[in-house]
Assembly symmetry: C2
């Protein structure tokens, strides 16, 4: 019985710096939260915005602040810091071991894919991005933390991949065609690969997928984290 979390991300082609930020934090009363922020525009300026919003949300979650309050605070903070002139899409995915639930908090036009009780659905109610308007609040969905629950959150680059060329992906049909037993890693890697293919390997936007899967199988009691960070060419270019 474990919660699997997987993130796969790549930056917009030839930009070198993703404007998406993903951070993970252990919840002080048990469980884990993943914060995904897609900053307005791309490159360095988007990165600094998404970083600011993610750090604020993460630091509050780490102190035990509830998800909805953390999202509101991150909004207020960005709006104060940047005078309401820049926006960011913010999603918080939490496996809360205190309440035994999965909590999804969206300030984003990009939907979340959710599989619960054997059925996939799209969480796509209108949810305002953070940073601009007064009193913005998140759309929150909560489902019991049960075996088989899968959550897939993404930046809008994934959702709209291929659209400029008129070959958008129907992601709901796509995930419905996947075996239910896929690991979180397989969900994240497959969706990113699909989006990359639809962008012919040169994405016109930052692409980030976050997948969470509640596994009902008995496993060892070991907590694991594995990351890979591509090394920029300015570093490996100096190797002999």
């Amino acid at each position: 019985m474990e919660v699997q979390v997987a993130v796969a991300k790549i930056e917009k082609y030839a930009v070198g710096e993703s404007g998406d930020t993903v951070e993970v934090v252990e919840r002080p009363h048990g469980g884990v939260s993943i914060v995904l922020v897609d900053g307005q525009r791309s490159g360095q300026s988007a990165k600094s915005i998404s970083n600011l919003v993610a750090r604020k949300a993460i630091s509050l979650l780490a102190e035990g602040v509830r998800d909805g309050a953390a999202a509101r605070a991150a909004h207020d903070y960005l709006r104060t810091q940047r005078g309401g002139k820049v926006s960011a899409e913010l999603v918080i995915v939490s496996a809360d071991f205190e309440t035994g639930s999965i909590v999804l908090s969206r300030n984003s036009r990009t939907p979340i894919l959710l599989q619960a009780e054997g059925e996939w659905r799209l969480l796509d109610t209108m949810a305002e991005a953070v940073g601009v308007h007064a009193r913005t609040r998140p759309c929150i969905e909560e489902v019991p933390l049960r075996p088989g629950v899968v959550v897939i959150a993404m930046s809008d680059g994934i959702w709209t991949a291929g659209e400029r060329r008129g070959v958008g992906i129907d992601l709901l049909s796509l995930v419905q065609s996947f075996p239910l037993t896929l690991s979180a890693k397989a969900f994240a890697d497959d969706l990113l690969a699909h989006a990359l293919r639809h962008e012919q390997g040169r994405p016109g936007d930052d692409l980030t997928v976050v997948a969470l899967h509640v596994l009902g199988l008995d496993v060892d009691n070991i907590r694991r984290m594995n990351l890979t960070f591509p090394i920029p060419s300015r570093i490996y270019g100096t190797w002999d």
Copy 2:
């Protein structure tokens, strides 16, 4: 060309809460830092100490503060908060893409295993834990970020596994016997498995391994993160 990071951890037998904390943060000028904190004692009190120290170090690193200064600040913070009465072992492992180096910052009696230029060595100079004495500072080691560099940091439970039964592990010989091509994940999982075996599956202390491996092979440019969190029995006990 990528940096692989792997963490494997399990709590002391029958305690249910690990006193070790590991957090990862992206460095604002490029690269990644892993913070490992082993709080004094075990269980809830150790967890709150290690969490406090890790959060302070992580938030400073996220703001671009250099590793040595972050370690000093985390020390001062714990010492102020707890009146110098509790200690924590703090290790910061960084892949710094700004300087092109691996930076190892130790405030811990537990050594770090480092493979650089094809040779394993033990970083075991005396390094004071944080939180107690005035003006504590870290032992810092810096090596070029080059293919084949491997770093293994651990909590003292790994280093002393089996010692109570008089069957300690010689970790330096152990890693020297491993193939150089092991992934970070394999290093972390293998070392944790060794320690668990030496503790007969019922560890007398929290066990945490952090491994970092610089890979010189050409890979895709995708950044990945994968985590697994065991679900506590108080949650899955309610499942049908």
